[in-house]
């Protein structure tokens, strides 16, 4: 080598003449060939060493990487727990749903593929255009929903063509379903895809990103999210680099979420919501013995099914623009001057303060209080407590409230639940206001004046209450116990301490309230058309604006009086109590017929339904039908055609509709039993029928391709398990 180098670096000029000849060139060749060979050998050793390093030292690392390439873990979203009514029928359930997603990154030919899907699924041209825009904007591995709620034929047609459709992913899943739709919307809420905030809140839970996965967005769906959610399953599949699934490796089933059982009576809720009809208002019905909320209807409302499917901007605009605020739960968040409905409670305050029921005042179309004359709606003459309640004489209350002082009245009101919140699983309930001197000073810095007492004594002025509070008031007054409303049927026997009212006093007030309906009262048309069951109640008319603006009965809707009615039945032994509040109904006449029909339905479903049917014929269909028609008209006005999701075909879901009660009653009749409607209705504290819960989750199997019908316990099972 040394020789070679020196020769190389030697003097070329000299070499040309002397040194270079055939044999030196041959030598050069040999030496350099050896070096070249050595170099090649060196590279061979380097390569072998490198390979050994990769294959031995780093084997584990690369083996893992190869596995993570090969195996793809997909989450199987858990089936959401059902929300059941007190009889174990679903108010919110899941139904099998076929959907199609696309993954932009994996589309070979986005335009062509989307056109093809659009043709197969008969998507509207605007939807196809939307999809194309979304795909071009969004490219990535995040799936985009093309369509959901497909029927099986469409799904199958798409699945067959999958090999030609790279990046298109048909999926079987479950979508939330609310059988009675708008009747339960405010109470149950709805579900929807998680937003960025929720995703961050939950530590970037990948489940929330799963296409089609929805979480509770409002109402009970949101509050009981944790219980309802369940645990996701997992599917390990072998995938190619382009994401095509080669085969399943392992599947772990999801754990469905727990059901939540409410005290709500599904058919009653549906009946009440529909009975509100064209009005805007709410109905609360409670079980006096337990405080179970049997019904919390608030109308008008929205369709939680379309909210859960992803509500369109037009439908949302329609709801938002509506002056009847269909997005607000009026049972909890509607505040109204209670008007005369609080008069029986004020009488209880008078009795406690020593006023005798027989004490009278003279009503001459009003009464002089201090130096001012306050009008009554009529001239009642000599008025005792019974007449004051039955005919709602204002003068009586002006006088005795003034006599005992309003602090005592306000204390009683608070004791009876006015201005209070209750321990309920709801997102928000409004307190309302029970005005008293301290409150007024705190609020306005002004002293309490006689006319404040006058106004407050008849439930006007600063007085504000929610329909729920009025329902609770009715129940407490009817029973003389601290009835607390409850919404969850969780088996705990509620405690109900007594107010220790004098039995005679209570009997007197109950009788007076019965006289409102059954005597010479203000709501004689509210009598139940049922032999032997008497409804007791109190009407109320809440003025919204001063008489100078409107007479409260006609003119613009928003200036009309609110119509209120609190009630309980049967009057001798109160079982159910409640309140009906109709916004701007023009007076209590808009409220008590609803209470009457709801209680009729309670005791005699057939007669109740008959009444509803004839009314709905006049109104043009059920609340849901009217809502859908209104939306279609609203959308047509804006040049959009509306296709409603296909109507359901699973009859099983009809069990919470008002008509279901009738069917159940008929089948009992056939069975030869005497009709004892709703005898054990109030048997609260009993766990929901086991069959209804175990059967509540739709069975699935990984390879079944046929649509699954969610399996619920048939109605008879639920009925039987209730009548031991």
């Amino acid at each position: 080598m040394k020789n070679w180098l020196t020769w190389r670096s030697g003097q070329p000029k000299r070499r040309t003449t002397q040194i270079i000849n055939a044999s030196t060139l041959k030598n050069t060749f040999d030496r350099r060939a050896v070096v070249l060979g050595g170099l090649q050998g060196g590279i061979a050793v380097l390569l072998a060493g490198r390979m050994g390093y990769l294959a031995i030292a780093e084997n584990e690392k690369y083996r893992l990487e190869s596995e993570s390439n090969r195996v793809n873990l997909t989450l199987i979203p858990p089936r959401r727990g059902w929300i059941l009514d007190r009889n174990g029928s679903p108010l919110a359930s899941n139904r099998a749903d076929f959907r199609v997603d696309i993954i932009p990154e994996r589309l070979d030919d986005p335009e062509g593929t989307i056109n093809q899907i659009g043709e197969l699924l008969q998507l509207e041209p605007t939807r196809i255009a939307d999809l194309k825009r979304e795909v071009s904007e969004k490219s990535g591995y995040q799936p985009i929903e093309v369509a959901s709620g497909l029927n099986f034929d469409e799904f199958a047609a798409l699945s067959v063509r999958l090999p030609d459709l790279q990046g298109v992913i048909p999926q079987r899943g479950f979508s939330r379903y609310y059988p009675t739709a708008s009747s339960v919307a405010h109470l149950i809420g709805y579900v929807g895809p998680a937003d960025a905030e929720q995703y961050a809140e939950e530590d970037r839970n990948p489940l929330l990103l799963t296409p089609g996965y929805k979480i509770g967005k409002d109402g009970l769906e949101r509050l009981f999210e944790e219980d309802l959610r369940g645990k996701p399953g997992g599917r390990r599949v072998e995938v190619t680099a382009s994401g095509r699934v080669v085969r399943d490796l392992e599947t772990r089933e999801d754990t469905p979420g727990d059901p939540v059982t409410l005290t709500i009576d599904g058919p009653l809720q549906d009946y009440a919501a529909r009975r509100i009809g064209l009005e805007s208002g709410s109905v609360v019905v409670m079980d006096c013995a337990t405080g179970d909320l049997l019904c919390m209807a608030s109308m008008p409302s929205f369709d939680p099914n379309s909210f859960s499917d992803g509500i369109g901007s037009i439908e949302y605009a329609m709801l938002r623009e509506d002056e009847r605020v269909p997005l607000r739960n009026k049972v909890l968040q509607g505040l109204y001057p209670p008007g005369s409905t609080i008069k029986p409670m004020h009488c209880m305050a008078f009795l406690q303060a020593g006023v005798k029921p027989t004490d009278t005042v003279v009503c001459g179309g009003g009464r002089q209080i201090g130096n001012r004359f306050f009008r009554c709606h009529s001239s009642h003459g000599v008025v005792d407590m019974d007449k004051a309640i039955a005919q709602s004489c204002d003068s009586y209350f002006y006088h005795f409230a003034q006599q005992i002082g309003f602090e005592k009245v306000a204390d009683m009101a608070k004791l009876m639940g006015m201005g209070q919140q209750y321990p309920l699983p709801v997102a928000s309930q409004f307190y309302g206001t029970v005005p008293d001197p301290t409150w007024k000073v705190n609020k306005f810095g002004e002293p309490w004046r006689p006319h404040d007492t006058v106004n407050a004594s008849i439930g006007q002025g600063y007085y504000l209450a929610s329909p729920l509070q009025l329902g609770v008031l009715a129940a407490r007054l009817a029973t003389g116990k601290v009835v607390n409303p409850r919404l969850l049927l969780d088996g705990k026997a509620p405690e109900m301490p007594s107010y220790n009212f004098n039995e005679d006093d209570m009997g007197y007030i109950r009788q007076a309230m019965s006289n409102v309906v059954n005597g010479a009262g203000t709501a004689r048309r509210a009598q139940l058309p049922i032999e032997g069951i008497k409804l007791a109640g109190k009407t109320g008319t809440a003025q919204v604006v001063s008489l100078s603006v409107s007479d409260g009965r006609s003119g613009p809707w928003k200036y009309r009086d609110h119509g209120l009615f609190v009630f309980f039945a049967p009057f001798e032994n109160p079982r159910y109590a409640g309140a009906v509040v109709i916004e701007h109904g023009g007076g209590s006449g808009s409220a008590y017929p609803i209470a009457r029909d709801v209680m009729t339905f309670m005791f005699d479903p057939e007669r109740g339904l008959e009444q509803l049917r004839s009314l709905e014929k006049q109104w043009g269909g059920t609340a849901q039908q009217r809502l859908e028609r209104r939306y279609a008209a609203y959308a047509a006005e804006r040049g959009e055609s509306v296709t409603r999701p296909p109507s359901r075909d699973e009859e099983i879901f009809d069990r919470v509709e008002a008509e279901a009660r009738l069917a159940a009653a008929q089948s009992e009749e056939i069975a030869g039993d005497a009709i004892v409607p709703r005898e054990d209705q109030a048997a609260s504290g009993s766990p929901p029928p086991a069959a209804a819960i175990t059967g509540q989750a739709p069975e699935t199997s990984a390879n079944a391709s046929a649509p699954q019908t969610p399996q619920t316990a048939p109605p008879q099972v639920a009925a039987e398990s209730q009548t031991p």
Partner: protein, 374 residues
């Protein structure tokens, strides 16, 4: 040589040919697996082409020296014209076309240029008067001979083949005895120019390939994808591999080009380090034999020819294996005798044929003999 085996068969270099057959057979197995467990479309045509080109090699091996020397320059001119023709057709066709479709295979003239440049330079240096080896003419004319085709190949653009041609030519020049300082100078000059070439000469995608070689994980889904997946395939194979037809990287299409450029990774995944050692071993045997043929040749033309041919094969092997193992940028050079592809098989079998030819010359005139140095 009076055995039962006839002389024409017995005289063949079986020490090289048997490992070569084994390697091609092994290559067919790997291609069988790369096709998802099927002879079609890779393995069958791989074996067919090898058989055809083996006959070609055998045919080349019986060429007499004089004929080869006579045909050398016409062959160079012919291939060069083909190269220009392809470029022109490509320009007219409005895209970069590198091949001519011959029906049974597509031919890349640039591939043919690799052995042709070797034989051309071998002829040139063997005809060059001994004394002139250090003169400027010894550098200039071969330089032009190399530069012309390289220019057209670069225009295609095909960096890998350009480098292969330069490498083959340079090895012949080195072995021909050109002053070493020229090479050292060229090496230093190249090192100095490299950054300039990198920043101004290379296309952006080529720059990225070079950069990712140093840090493939920086962009595992982009430019580094090939190298990353190749290393995963080799590394996950371990010592004994995942088993025949069990390679997930190749079968699930994570490995790019599992049948051509990355065939070694496909093999390594299923056969492990053992398979890798076998392949490297066979290549070592073939290249050692090639150099042995070169050194045994008493004839300057034969020596340079044989050495140049084995250098050409070596270049393929080295760059491909360095690439799949993450030591060289992705340049698109297939692995001889294993990768599926007609042109590279043709080139390599021409090289083998030429080596067998020189080997036959050596056998016919083992010592000293009639070698002409003029």
């Amino acid at each position: 040589m009076n055995s039962v085996i006839p002389y024409p068969i017995a005289r063949q270099p079986w020490g090289m040919l048997i490992p070569l057959f084994a390697l091609v057979g092994f290559g067919a197995l790997v291609l069988y697996s790369a096709a998802g467990g099927s002879m079609q479309p890779f393995a069958a045509s791989h074996l067919t082409r090898f058989s055809v080109f083996l006959f070609l090699a055998g045919f080349i091996s019986i060429f007499p020296r004089a004929l080869v020397r006579f045909l050398t320059y016409p062959a160079y001119v012919f291939v060069f014209i083909l190269l220009v023709a392809v470029e022109i057709i490509g320009q007219v066709g409005g895209g970069s076309q590198r091949w001519l479709d011959l029906g049974f295979m597509v031919l890349q003239p640039s591939e043919l240029m690799k052995p042709v440049i070797v034989v051309t330079l071998a002829h040139f240096y063997s005809s060059l008067p001994v004394g002139m080896i250090t003169s400027w003419r010894a550098l200039l004319i071969p330089g032009v001979l190399i530069a012309l085709p390289v220019l057209f190949v670069l225009l295609q653009p095909d960096l890998g083949t350009s480098l292969a041609i330069v490498f083959g030519g340079a090895v012949v020049m080195l072995l021909a005895g050109l002053p070493l300082k020229w090479f050292i100078g060229a090496g230093l000059g190249g090192a100095a120019l490299a950054p300039l070439i990198f920043y101004f000469g290379l296309q952006e995608y080529q720059q990225r390939r070079v950069l990712t070689m140093f840090d493939p994980e920086a962009d595992p889904l982009g430019a580094g994808y090939h190298i990353t997946q190749s290393k995963i395939a080799i590394g996950s194979g371990g010592i004994f591999g995942k088993g025949f037809n069990e390679g997930s990287q190749s079968h699930l299409q994570y490995l790019p080009e599992p049948h051509t450029d990355f065939v070694f990774a496909t093999m390594a995944e299923e056969w492990g380090l053992i398979g890798g050692i076998f392949v490297i071993g066979v290549f070592t045997i073939i290249l050692r034999w090639g150099l042995k043929v070169a050194r045994e040749s008493q004839d300057r033309f034969g020596s340079l020819l044989a050495a140049g041919m084995s250098a050409t094969i070596f270049f393929y092997i080295a760059i491909n294996l360095l690439m799949v193992m993450g030591f060289a940028p992705v340049v698109g050079i297939p692995l001889p005798f294993m990768s599926h592809g007609g042109s590279s098989m043709l080139t390599n079998m021409i090289c083998i044929g030429a080596l067998m030819m020189v080997n036959r010359w050596n056998q016919d005139a083992p010592r000293g003999g009639i070698s002409s140095m003029s």
